[in-house]
Amino acid sequence: MGDPQLTVEDLYVRFPTSRGTVEAVNGVNFTLEKGQMLGIVGESGSGKSVTAKTLMNLLPRTAEVDGNITFEGDDVRAVAKERRKHFWGVKMTMVFQDPMTSLNPVKRCGEQITETLRYHLGDDKATARKKAIDLLEQVGVPEPAKRVDQYPHELSGGLRQRVVIAMALACEPSLLIADEPTTAVDVTVQKRLLDLLDGLRRDRGMSMILITHDLGVARGRCDDVAVMYGGRLVERAPTETLFADSRHPYTEALLRTIPRIDQPSHTRLEPITGRPPELIDPDEECAFAPRCRYAQPDCLEVIPPVGGVRGQHEFACFHPANTDRGRQALDTNLAAGQTVTGLQIQADAGVN
């Protein structure tokens, strides 16, 4: 295996605001191999979308970025400084959550695809139009020759998102970043869109980063899943490992808080108590400690570094779940009835 296609090293993103500096991304490291599908899972404010926007150079000017991003040998942040054309939108493209706001309502769908082709690849009008119809067909839009002349409002949500995907694929990118691509659509449409993205990725040997808040979406499709919390990447592992043998207590808690379809109705859910972490001037401690059942004094002293087996199962926790250290920490806390942060905990049937 050669160099990874994408390397993100020590990425920090800060937004100065009147209330203080929002530390949106705090030292994120990850790599992506060519052809790989990486899921980034996290809740609002975890930094997953900011990470994606940093890769795409879409952050507002006020953002303070630090760290290295290398993509196919290019230093992505240098590319941004040089204002180089034909990088974003060609090699690396992105699909956003809401298809209505990512399409121009007063332009026909076809024009929005040909615009990309004509600008980046210099295609003439006729070639671009032919390619656009072709692309619409590839993304499963019925009657592409007719749809190409329609406006976004004439299409359903699912079809609009397909048009957006066609736009993103127009210049045959080697990396597609999809930020919550199916959050705004119904489940039957979601399944078809995810099937489509998965198929396109395989056919084209394209890499993909799928950003989602839905663990189930990531589970079905991704090779690897990374979990973000409080601007940090807290765990990354091959998908099945992450779900079957999670290490970070946040991942474990997330998996247990979701109602499952195979549980009988009225099964009591296990909420994650407490609030999401403060991103303005956070303390130098594990961001999850105040909500963590495993928290010990050392969690409050320093931010746990990412450990585990590099490239296989990485996690940032001193007392990982499903390990002896974790079980010891949990037993100590259960015996005391509370954690070091004062979180009241009780034994329950689900704990193993």
């Binding site: 809740e43 609002s44 019925p142 359903s156 949500g157 699912g158 079809l159 119904d186 489940v187 039957t188 449409v189 979601q190 399944k191 078809r192 995810l194 808040h213 839905d214 663990l215 189930g216 979406v217 589970r219 079905g220 808690a253 997330l254 808080t257 979701i258 109602p259 499952r260 379809i261 195979d262 549980q263 009988p264 109705s265 009225h266 099964t267 009591r268 859910l269 296990e270 909420p271 994650i272 108590t273 609030r275 999401p276």
Partner: protein, 337 residues
């Protein structure tokens, strides 16, 4: 897909709310109408949680809004304790409304941003004077404690709370008038998963504590199953299948119910993933298909599905009803997942 027919209606005395042949249409100009809800019937027993699932445009929110008369009803009746809500007007309707309260999807926009949350929660009581619920600071504080909001934050305004807290404030507000029925329209759809469980647990606790009957609307099949005793599956203004929550998910018979269960990212073990591959788009609710409304996308459709509308029928002798000419036999072994 039909939904016409009264088979699922129960005649027990503890039925609190009975919706019969409800039909709702919205004019869209040029003498055309959207057939939002087309003749559906169901009932809710006292203390029960009825879940309604379906995709956008299936009419689930319209059903909820019709029950508290937030939109006009074309025909049908809604029987609540001997009163027909569908035909009540003026003062009589006003008098009965405190019994039926609603919480909405977007917790932040459903609270007035300029008012203190104590005032938001107590407004219903202020309007009703002392006739409904007991008007006192203690009552407001009790409600706030019940939903897990510290009463000392009563002077704060909605923007100072997170989405999950705002939804809990919305629940406290809905409970202030001692309602019998709480209608929840996608109450957790806008929340992060870690707070979703808190809100769902609070709803269950409040139901037990205040003896509520819940109507719970969501597009999330797992969430609906978790809170519901009985579930209705809707498609394009019609009911496909009604049944006991566990039974319905264990033995789904309607092709659309099965398609839904197969489409979710972690499909239900009772269906084959390929059943989720439903073709085409949702037909226009202005010109819905004749016969079964699911016929344009159904793998099992035959001639009869295009001419005759299926009627709700009971499955065996269980609490399970469906409207389909070709229900899927659930005894057949399900393919590999």
């Amino acid at each position: 897909m039909a939904g016409t027919g009264h088979a699922p209606l129960r005649d027990d005395r503890d039925v609190l709310l009975t919706v019969r042949d409800l039909e709702v249409e919205f004019p869209v100009g040029r003498n055309e109408v959207v057939h939002a809800v087309s003749g559906i019937s169901f009932d809710v027993a006292e203390g029960e949680t009825l879940g309604i699932v379906g995709e956008s445009g299936c009419g689930k929110s319209t059903v909820a809004k019709s029950i508290i008369r937030l939109n006009d009803i074309k025909s049908g009746s809604i029987d609540y304790q001997g009163n027909d809500l569908a035909h009540m007007e003026g003062e009589a309707l006003r008098q009965i409304r405190p019994d039926l309260q609603m919480i909405f999807q977007d917790p932040i926009s459903s609270l007035n941003p300029r008012r203190k949350i104590r005032d938001v929660i107590s407004e219903g009581i202020a309007v009703w004077g002392n006739t409904k619920g007991s008007w006192s600071q203690e009552r407001i504080e009790e409600l706030m404690v019940a939903v897990g909001i510290d009463p000392k934050f009563g002077e704060r305004r909605p923007h100072q709370f997170s989405g999950g807290q705002c939804q809990r404030i919305g629940i406290a507000r809905a409970l202030a008038l001692d309602p019998k029925v709480l209608i929840c329209d996608e109450p957790v759809s806008a929340l992060d998963v870690s707070v979703q469980a808190q809100v769902l647990n609070i709803l269950e606790d409040m139901k037990a504590r205040y003896g509520l009957t819940l109507l719970f609307i969501s597009h999330d099949l797992s969430v609906v199953k978790n809170v519901s005793d009985r579930i209705i599956v809707m498609y394009l203004g019609k009911v496909c299948e009604i049944g006991n929550a566990d039974e319905l998910y264990e033995h789904p018979r309607h092709p659309y119910t099965r398609a839904l269960l197969a489409s979710i990212p972690e499909p239900a073990p009772t269906v084959d993933v390929s059943e989720g591959d439903i073709e085409g788009e949702l037909p226009s609710p202005i010109h819905p298909p004749a016969g079964c409304r699911f016929n344009t996308r159904c793998q099992h459709a035959t001639d009869i599905c295009f001419t005759d509308e299926p009627v709700m029928q009971q499955v065996g002798d269980s609490d399970h009803y469906l409207a389909c000419h070709h229900p899927v036999e659930v005894s057949v072994s399900v393919g590999e997942r």
